[in-house]
Symmetry: C2
Subunit: 495 residues, 2 copies
């Protein structure tokens, strides 16, 4: 099935409708927004197995994985809805007037308000959770922003079905016309036109470094620059520290064989770089990992483009000077199947060759052999911003290598100890985002209810009558939310 | 007195020192950071009247104003220090492990951590409060970031004295070498080199739209783009609504004559645009305002560049089609004195001439005459992003014009009722920032302790032993800070 690219006049039309809807939706209560989001979750469920079958046909992902991913998407919608209603995220702050000050202090009250229409670009590897009704859409709706989705061309039919579910939910929940729109566009032009439209006030994107950076640049070159939250590229380095490796090399290898091959390596948190000290323990680790990788089954990748990209990038990486293949899955791959592969390189090769720092999207991992901990630190200092970084280490390893630990901490958004980076919990404490080029804005997360904060800005009300203020800021605190009143966090009324 | 521009190798040297200092300072406790900030406040006071005299000689600002501004600067330092210690701003979030979940939920804990060295460009109009030891510097130190100040060339000696005070405080507080640096640079090149240096992780700027936008562009074109918080340009529109005007035209005129001429109009929140309905009440308002403006005394502006700029921009504005001068201060101005001036234009002239939307920095205000409330709405829709917007209106005026009120709310960071925009309280509920071109990032404030949030990013710790976590995230909550633990805000320990 193929869809027609949207025209410029269609783009203008949906953006104008979104702008009009914004002025209605932003004034709807937190409860109404939450109700709408819960209704979307219900409609997604009501799509039944048919939606999973369509997604399977477009992405090659197994039905069980797609069923889980839909459940995750529904959980995102309902948990962000709960967070939206609870209102902690509004950062309500109140300083009441002090009339006898010189000069008198006015009454000032602040809260977060929505930015305006948000354009969302879905991810190839998450047709539900980071696409049409995914995390960006859920957080924009919670924030009070209309959403315009540019369907991912590789799962356009899935996107169309999800869009229909959102539209049904919008109608059931008495949402204004224009609260949601869904456009197709295989070309970059449609996306660029959406980002450049004056009514677009923020952008969410999950995909390649090239695509994300191009949208980021377009957004900054607008007459009115707007924020772009692009999650783009991460190799998720794993540091194997010596004391831990003495006792656990085999165990770590087995754990990581699973993480490297999970979902044919098609996760943004896939561990693409493993850094160890070149000694017997590392040999043991590599031997054990090799054994697992050789046994691993190749599996079909998301689409032919991603498959071709994997084949090319893997071949390029393996052909770099001082890179050696360590193990390749032994089963003969069928068409479009990604073959699990591990390779190794010296620290010097890594330090001198920026090409080896690039993501190879798929079940591929490069093991860097360092002479000692000083060389491991030198490697760390060459690594760009990452979504995650992982330490495999004992308490001694950590306490004896604080300079290394601090350097690693400084390049990532999520810092993991003795576990694998794959698996991203949807919760308040999740940071899914990191220094460039992992994302374009390390100050925000794409997962967890704090993702709502990407699409809001603070607005102060000075000297307003209580009855004219939004409910969030009224003396009575009718919504019962947490507020900072005269320096103290409280749910109390102001009397 | 003149200072030499910093060389590229000096820039590289201070940035390398700042980067090294960052790794020490970021680990210092909130108490240590706060102590350092309080020590800066003490050193500023210890500079005595000599500092005020030097500032007066460089800026033409009266001693009384400078004394107040220094007190405000000290209050910023001490109140952000208190906020820093209190730790509410850290957004600590904890989700404890759930072992019997499928799959098991890991322990994840998140808090805000500093971005790295921050480059600060001081403001011409606030030699203390928004310059060397001003709001940007105070919030960066609270966040855990070293600061590099590029001295404003128009008050370079004042800046040098303040820098010496900061350096003394740094030494007294056992801060690492490189925690603070101070460079001179009259050319754009020095500033650009600072913004482009790879160790620079964020930028604070207060000044012109042209200057701020140039730094914003340079920061976005880096290999690793970084955030720039530039506060640039605002005309702070004031909307005179009809019922209010019926009873209070004269009173409003008197209030606004004071606000327009305060500090020779050299405030970023100066009301440069007043929008009313063309009727007898507006005539009364203009007559009364004219009387006040004619009596107003011209006064010396900050420096010859700002004076020349005022003269040119005012003349340009007055020479636009359909703009008429309403009143000019009658006293003969001396050299470099800014002459208070008000002018008027039709709504149509304003709508069709973007030149009239530009800031005229100084004691100048343009009154827009609208035929009716619909035309006032049309004018509003043409106004770019602003730091503030003010409604002069009764409850009826507001309730009967919700579309207009919503449109005004959407273009500003601080929304004022029946007061003047000049005067910016330093408090939690202050938003000093607004949609572009008022600032480059409407999601953050430059005033109040929330300004700290500009220089931090979230970092999640997954699966770390309690004793290896930062104090902010330990089970015992040794700092006694507010944290969101398993969905609920609390100061409780985790047991």
């Amino acid at each position: 099935m193929s869809f027609q690219d949207a025209t410029i006049s269609e783009v203008d039309n949906v953006m104008t409708q979104a702008w009009n809807a914004f002025h209605i939706y932003r004034k709807m209560s937190l409860k109404q927004r939450a109700g709408f989001m819960r209704s979307i979750a219900k409609e997604l469920e009501a799509c039944g197995d048919e939606l999973l079958e369509v997604a399977k046909s477009e992405t090659n992902l197994p039905i069980a994985r797609l069923r889980n991913e839909r459940a995750r998407t529904m959980y995102q919608l309902t948990s962000y809805a709960a967070a939206c209603e609870k209102g902690d995220w509004l950062e309500a702050r109140i300083n009441t007037a002090v009339a006898d000050n010189t000069p008198p202090k006015p009454d000032i009250r602040k809260m977060l308000v929505p930015l305006g229409p948000v354009v969302v670009f879905g991810a190839a590897n998450f047709p539900f959770a980071y696409s049409t009704a995914g995390g960006d859409t859920a957080s924009a709706f919670a924030a009070g922003c209309p959403v315009i989705v540019k369907a991912h061309p590789e799962h356009a039919k899935t996107s169309e079905m999800v869009a229909t579910a959102i539209s049904k939910a919008a109608a059931n929940s008495y949402m204004p016309v224009g609260i949601f729109a869904h456009l197709h566009g295989a070309s970059f032009e449609v996306g660029k036109a959406l980002v450049e439209h004056p009514y677009t006030k923020a952008v969410g994107f999950t995909g390649s470094l090239r695509g994300g950076k191009a949208l980021f640049d377009a957004a900054n070159q607008r007459k009115e620059p707007i924020p772009v939250f692009a999650e783009m590229s991460s190799i998720n380095p794993v540091f194997l520290l010596p004391e831990k490796m003495k006792t656990s090399a085999t165990e770590i290898a087995q754990m990581y064989a699973g993480s490297i091959t999970l979902g044919v390596g098609q996760f943004c948190t896939n561990p693409g770089l493993i850094i160890g000290i070149d000694n017997d323990d590392l040999q043991k680790f590599m031997a054990s990992l090799s054994e697992e990788i050789k046994k691993a089954a190749p599996a079909e990748m998301l689409n032919s483009g991603i498959f071709k990209n994997y084949i090319e990038k893997r071949a390029n990486s393996l052909s770099q000077p001082d890179v050696e293949t360590v193990a390749v899955a032994e089963a003969e791959p069928l068409m479009y199947q990604g073959v699990p592969t591990i390779a190794t390189a010296t620290a010097a090769a890594f330090i001198n060759n920026p090409f080896l720092h690039q993501e190879v999207f798929g079940p591929y991992s490069l093991i860097i052999k360092c002479k000692d901990l000083q060389e491991m630190l030198n490697v760390t200092r060459q690594i760009e911003g990452q979504l995650t970084a992982t330490i495999m280490g004992t308490v001694n390893d950590i306490n004896e290598n604080t300079v290394l630990i601090d350097a690693v901490k400084n390049i990532c958004g999520r810092f993991i100890l003795n576990a694998v980076p794959t698996g991203v919990e949807v919760c308040e404490s999740m940071q899914h985002g990191g220094p460039f080029p992992a994302t374009t804005d390390s100050r925000f997360t794409a997962v967890g209810p704090d993702a709502i904060k990407r699409f809001v800005r603070p607005l102060s009300f000075q000297n307003w009558d209580n009855k004219l203020l939004p409910d969030e800021l009224k003396n009575e605190n009718p919504l019962g939310i947490w507020r900072t009143v005269n320096h103290e966090l409280t749910k109390d009324k102001i009397v």
